[in-house]
């Protein structure tokens, strides 16, 4: 590209989240940035989009090379708004995150962060979702910047096959240095939910969902294994749910 690359950014933890502010700062060193997020967290929105209510947008920053919006949409909405309303041309890169919490294994399907990245990929735009395997408001991101830049620079230089996004998960900060980057597959690990029953002040039952994460996947090349070994896990992902191995055998 002749000029600076145009980078579209969103996240699902709200526009004030540490991981988002860091990602914006890093991307500003690589190109022109348009960022669009929400006032509050929209975690676990999956690939929800907003059809039953109108969308609203507010410009909160507009300086050369950087524009920032707040919307009332989901992460997937935000990338659609960027692609089809806010930008004069398709962005050169869509990045999402850095999520506070892992999007490895089955978490990808619940993840607004990864929905946003996939919204880029489905239009043929190189796209990366970044997540840190640590929850909380202010996790330690000090070990991730060099890898965010390295992976993003490679994608800007070499692009990605059409339709592909990267699901990048960083291990939680530890005393040991990160060992490097591993290309991995999505682990077959699931959540087993539990529901805590409570009684509201009016005598009515309600439930809070929580759960435990069960990784029974013994394969050595999964994202969960890479994280457990203190590697950055990079899974190339796409939006095709087809179980191709069954196409020839499933009959009715």
């Amino acid at each position: 590209m002749a000029n600076k690359p145009l980078i579209l950014i969103t996240n699902d933890d709200g526009y004030e989240a540490d991981g988002y502010r860091l990602l914006i700062d890093l991307m500003k060193t690589l190109g022109d940035v348009v960022a669009i997020s929400t006032l509050e967290s929209t975690s676990a929105m999956g690939h929800a989009v907003t059809m039953n209510q109108p969308l609203r947008l507010k410009t909160i920053s507009e300086v050369p090379g950087f524009t920032e919006y707040i919307s009332n949409g989901t992460p997937a909405d935000n990338i659609k708004l960027g692609k089809h309303l806010l930008l004069d041309r398709m962005p050169d890169l869509v990045v999402s995150g850095i999520n506070h919490g892992s999007n490895a294994a089955i978490n990808i399907i619940y993840s607004g962060t990864m929905a946003a990245a996939l919204e880029g990929a489905m239009d043929g735009i190189p796209a990366i979702g970044f997540s840190l395997a640590e929850y909380g408001q202010h996790p330690d991101f000090s070990h991730v910047s060099e890898f965010v830049l390295k992976i993003t620079e490679k994608v800007l230089k070499d692009a990605l096959p059409k339709g592909i996004a990267l699901n990048v998960n960083f291990p939680k900060k530890s005393a040991d240095p990160v060992k490097g980057i591993k290309t991995a597959r999505q682990a077959k690990a699931v959540w087993k939910e539990t529901y805590e029953e409570r009684i509201d002040p009016f005598g009515r039952k309600y439930y809070w969902m929580s759960g435990v994460f069960l990784d029974g996947d013994q394969r050595v090349d999964t994202d969960e294994k890479a994280l457990a070994e203190n590697y950055v896990a990079v899974v190339p992902v796409q939006c095709d749910f087809t179980a191709r191995e069954l196409l020839d055998t499933l009959t009715f």
Copy 2:
């Protein structure tokens, strides 16, 4: 199974939707049914789950062989509630729908109907999402019942490989009879969104999302092709986003 199969049902068009009531009636002929849906439509929720507010449940019917609940959750929540709170044992089958509108091609990723089916599959429960390629409150479902029963009976008899769900889409009712059932792959077709700008009574801008569906996939074995030829399209699907063909070549 010694006794009648236990069938867990949800949808994303609300509990009064024609397609849901029809699916419940059909499933009652095959087993014991537990149905859980929402008061209103929750379309385009994707795989969203509810973490930021408590869930509530109301029992609206309880007779031998049939229990029905209403929740304030998403379709994915509803299957989780069924699996982990409401049922004494894992169901033998999860079915979802019949959705008012197609979930073929990329629609699967925005679909609460298919998120619910995948919630079954990820716990190893045979699962089917049914959708009709016609929108609106009262589409003509008269051509689908025989196929719903045929496909469901086969799945109850033969099960499905662990982790697999079926994404079943019916063509819109036409003068011609449905030609049969085709196993197909998810078409590479996408939405191109447009945003209609309006001004509210207080002078502020807002936007309604709409879009056009673009199917540029020339392959002959896609779900979109099957529907266009008046077949029932059955795509075997799974929750693995890994682009496996890139695992050996993607390096950093």
